[in-house]
Amino acid sequence: MKEITKYGWIAYITARSHIAYAGEVFTRIVLMTVILYVFSRVWLAVYGVNSGPRLAGLTITQMIWYLVATEAFALSGPRTWYEVEQDVRTGRVAVQLIHPLSYGLTHLGKAMGERIVRFAIYMLAGVVIALAIAGPLRWTASGLAMFLAILPLAFLLDFLGHFLVGLCAFWLESVNGLALIYTRATMLLGGLILPMEMYPAALQPTLRRLPFASMVYAPGRMFVDPSGAVFFKAFWTQAAALIVFLCIVGAVQAAAFKRVFSNGG
């Protein structure tokens, strides 16, 4: 239990560190406002020319709230890959390893602390904007419970993806390119702006099986249109993706740590 508490404290300290700058918090709110305003106008126009009141099974109100949830997820992603890359390139990994901590769990704690703060800020801004543009959404307790069950797993999966990209710094000079591919794949294949139902029918089965959809689309859908069937499907996909990611990360980290070498005089 004490071991888990350590990482909880790391998350807490990271969270505090990320609200230390009021200016940064304000910038994030402005960014979210601009993004939501632009995409809301786009969806309002699309729904305006569309004959029916629903697209991909969602009303315009649900679609705008879907945007709030998915954008908050995408924008709140901590740059764990950059942190790991810096650990490797500057030798900062040495400072991490002198403490009685697991390297991976330390980064998980930091990522979760940062993510929760940022996600909360973006959601707060998003809720205000969505209420102003589209009005309230009808939530149910079970719907919110399903959303809150799916969300931490989505955060965890995204962390593992970032961490894996960062670990590649043990072999590559720079992981910028890989990080760019990963983040864009999350946005484009995960259903950031378009829900899965709007992708070509032939691609949908594959996309739904990829981890990206269970990070972005699944929490977004649970937020606006929760259903038990979708929840369990998303939950099992997340669980499977989690097992695969954990195996890969474990193997890569073990190989990477054999490559730690001295840096500096």
């Binding site: 004490k2 990994v93 040495a94 390893l97 403490h99 070498f261």
Partner: protein, 323 residues
């Protein structure tokens, strides 16, 4: 088994791979080449050597960060790379060029976090923290974000952070780098005090002769991965520089002194600074000659600065044809 540090035939080779045309060629670089030593508990040891000598690699093996290629190492009774997390409770580490303090938060928050990381009992932690705050004079900036602290304040907080769990062994890797003269002196005094009062073992690496002279009682010089000198600081100075510095102040302008074995370094109207080569002339004879030269108002004899000693050791090691 010693509670200090014990190293037997430690070796660390790095494999370097490079492309030659379409083929990848692997070559080995030897960073540590058969080091053996024992550091008893409570001793303060300076580990010095030129850049690339292998001292940082050795420290990183001792702290469990790196695995050696071969050899046995025991630190506080643990094998570092096998028991890294257990060992972490016994050691404190300060890397002068890397910080463990949270940049945007005040030092007190990092202290609090470290108390959780090391699973310290609240009452013990508060007692140690308060004692360190007093000893290191941290009270004035404890609640100011680290980014707003001077380097001297930051390093004091940094060392205090590494002592919160009362480590038995303290590794200091260039702790005074970048500090001004006063901050450097303060930090050295604090480390000495901790070593003296807590009986903790101190292993220090530094390029600053003052750190070595004032903090360490024993010096180990490493060159090309091998130990070239292992002795106490005073003995190293005596052995590696057969010279003394003589400062003399006369009541009047002195007569000329026959300078065989005595090199005049500085001279003013009534003062002289002379370097004595004790292999040519004994200190006793040199002083007698100086006393003959005029009425002496004041006289002092000093050892040469450690920088000079270190410089000589390095050049001797290079001349000895170390690979």
């Amino acid at each position: 088994m010693t509670r200090g540090v014990e190293i037997k035939e430690l070796r660390k080779n790095f494999v370097l791979k490079r492309w030659q045309g379409c083929r990848r060629i692997a070559s080995e670089a030897v960073a540590v080449d058969g080091i053996s030593l024992k550091v008893p508990e409570g001793q303060s040891v300076a580990f010095i050597g030129p850049n690339g000598a292998g001292k940082s690699t050795t420290i990183k093996i001792l702290t469990g960060i790196l695995h050696p290629t071969s050899g046995d190492v025991y630190v506080a009774g643990y094998i570092p790379w096998r028991d890294r997390r257990k060992l972490a409770y016994q050691i404190g580490t300060v890397f002068g060029q890397r910080s463990q303090l949270w940049y945007h938060l005040p030092p007190i928050d990092t202290f609090d976090l470290l108390s959780r990381i090391y699973s310290l009992k609240r009452v013990d932690f508060v007692r140690t923290r308060d004692s360190l705050i007093e000893r290191f004079a941290l009270g004035g900036f404890l609640h100011i974000p680290v980014r707003k602290l001077s380097l001297g304040q930051r390093m004091r907080a940094e060392v205090a952070a590494s002592l919160l769990h009362r480590p038995r062994i303290l590794f200091l890797d260039e702790p005074t780098i970048g500090l001004d003269v006063i901050a450097r002196q303060e930090l050295r005094d604090l480390i000495c005090e901790w070593n003296r009062e807590e009986g903790a073992t101190v292993l220090l690496t530094s390029h600053d002769a003052g750190d070595i002279e004032q903090v360490a009682e024993r010096v180990i010089v490493i060159h090309h991965g091998r130990i070239v000198v292992d002795d106490d600081v005073a003995a190293v100075r005596r052995r590696y520089l057969g010279s003394k510095i003589l400062r003399v102040q006369f009541h009047e302008t002195p007569r000329e002194i026959p300078f065989r074995g005595m090199k005049l370094i500085e001279r003013s109207l009534h003062e002289m600074k002379i370097e004595i080569d004790t292999s040519v002339i004994s200190a006793q004879l040199a002083i007698a000659r100086v006393l003959d030269a005029g009425r002496v108002a004041d006289l002092s004899i000093e050892d040469p600065p450690l920088e000079q000693v270190i410089g000589r050791i390095y050049s001797q090691a290079a001349a000895a044809g170390a690979p």
